[in-house]
């Protein structure tokens, strides 16, 4: 199995990479971790004529946890993110969910920004970025722009990136005090793509949920923000009644397709179950130390 021919470039600075990508336009692809792109190249699902390998660009291998936000550069691997002490403490949802991404060898190479740019509907990171109200920083030879997560994801494996543009960083605001998290996903075998999953951030104050952000994974079009369920959760104590009602809202809101892994009704059912599990985790934590 061989990729079709491409011209390979491995620039050591971002400016050169952006010029190369700009010149290549729609025929260019960014190679970061390669854990999605390389299989697609090997199977010739994609046949770009120019490959811009960004692995030599040291400035992109940057993981910074500040007082206001976490900045994750384009070369940060899943394994780096989940092991970083500042991430584990300040953004535990990211660390915990990253541990469920594929397998160890994939996590060693695959990047956070690559997963976000790829927007596989079964992937964890697009939904985590939406749940945590993050921002994508995209760059091209013409400049930079910041794109809120919910404007970035644009349907199955599609984003608002323009030709010649790449994700250089993603940013996650520091969760507010009282934020509690839950994450659950289901696959038939360990490490397989999730058939369904749910990620939640619930901001608690005095035992009451002030605001919830709930995103469903695996429904076909990329991250699905379950707004009706969020409305049910806001003002509740994350009690069993509220959790059941939220799961019902999720089941009636999602519209998953069918594929070899499951029927539409099975995915819909799982979306509800994963919602319940994620919310129960958040609730348990809310009643514990209040930290996620």
């Amino acid at each position: 199995m061989k990729p079709a021919w491409f011209d390979y470039h491995a620039p050591d600075n971002l400016e050169d990479a952006l010029v190369l990508l700009g010149d290549a336009g729609i025929d260019g692809r960014v190679l970061a971790g390669g854990q999605s792109l390389m299989p697609m190249l090997n199977m010739r699902i994609v046949t770009p004529s120019v490959l811009v390998d960004i692995n030599q660009i040291a400035s992109l291998n940057s993981l910074q946890a500040g007082p206001d936000e976490l900045r994750v550069g384009a070369l940060v691997r899943h394994a780096d993110l989940m092991r970083n002490p500042a991430v584990r403490e300040g953004w535990p949802l990211l660390a915990e969910a990253s541990n469920q991404i594929a397998h160890r060898t994939i996590r060693n190479r695959g990047t956070v920004c690559g997963s976000i740019a790829h927007n596989d509907p079964a992937a964890e990171h697009p939904s985590l970025l939406v749940t945590l109200d993050g921002t994508v920083v995209a760059a091209s030879a013409g400049g930079r722009r910041e794109i809120p997560a919910e404007d970035f994801f644009d349907g199955m494996m599609s984003t608002s990136l323009e030709p010649g543009e790449m994700v250089v960083e993603v940013r996650y605001p520091r969760p507010r005090k009282g934020a509690c998290f839950g994450f659950a996903e289901f696959a038939r075998r360990l490490g397989d793509f999730a058939i369904a999953g749910a990620a939640v951030m619930a901001t608690m104050n005095g035992g009451v949920c002030e605001q919830a952000r709930l995103t469903i994974i695996g429904m076909g079009d990329g991250p699905f923000r379950a707004r009706a369920a969020e409305t049910v959760l806001a003002g509740s104590t994350l009690d069993a009644v509220a959790i059941t009602a939220a799961a019902d809202e999720v089941r009636s809101a999602v519209d998953p397709g069918e594929d070899v892994h499951g029927s539409s009704s099975y995915r819909r059912h799982l979306a509800g179950v994963m919602t319940e599990r994620a919310l129960e985790q958040a609730m348990t934590r809310a009643r514990g130390d209040g930290n996620g």
């Binding site: 199995m1 061989k2 990729p3 079709a4 021919w5 491409f6 011209d7 390979y8 470039h9 491995a10 190679l31 390669g34 854990q35 390389m38 299989p39 190249l41 090997n42 199977m43 490959l51 390998d53 692995n55 394994a79 594929a102 397998h103 160890r104 060898t105 994939i106 060693n108 190479r109 075998r189 360990l190 490490g191």
Partner: protein, 162 residues
């Protein structure tokens, strides 16, 4: 043109300099150009784990890495596990004693993955071992003997190499 590149790679402690096609996978490079044929190719798209090698201390799938991306890297393959005196690496010995292989095609990938895992987690639970090995497929053994062999290393000093 940008379709060939000269790379320097250290494999199992030996330095190589080769000019390779930019679309050559690291797996094909190791097997076809360097003749370390112990690294096996199963699926060639990142599902089976047979081609797992250690690159700069991390287990990676050599079918999902281009040879040109290994420029400057240190790689360990199954051939590099044996001790200098020719005796087996402790985990190879554990696989042998535990009958953790039949045809052996998947074994190099399992060993490289298990060594990295045991370095990080020298005293794992069985569930942790199963999670760590979940990216490697074996069609002979039913996995139990493989899991048992890795568990038999539990609590022992972390194996070196890789």
């Amino acid at each position: 043109m940008a379709r060939e590149k000269t790379i320097q790679v250290t494999v199992n402690g030996r330095a190589f300099e080769k000019t390779v096609s930019v679309r050559r996978s690291l797996a094909d490079f190791i097997r076809e150009d360097l003749h370390y044929t112990g690294t096996h190719l199963g699926c060639e798209h990142g599902v089976c784990g047979a081609c797992t090698v250690s690159m700069n201390g991390r287990s990676v799938r050599s079918c999902l890495t281009l040879a040109v991306q290994a420029d400057g890297a240190e790689i360990t393959t199954i051939e590099g596990l044996r001790n200098e005196d020719g005796t087996r690496h402790p985990i190879q010995q554990a696989f042998l004693e535990g009958f953790a292989l039949q045809c052996g095609y998947c074994t190099p990938g399992f060993l490289i993955t298990a060594i990295e895992f045991l370095e990080e987690n020298p005293d794992p639970t069985e569930a942790e071992v199963r999670e760590a090995l979940s990216g490697n497929l074996c069609r002979c053994s039913g996995y139990q003997a493989i899991v048992d062999a890795v568990m038999s290393m539990s609590g022992k000093p972390a194996p070196e190499n890789a």
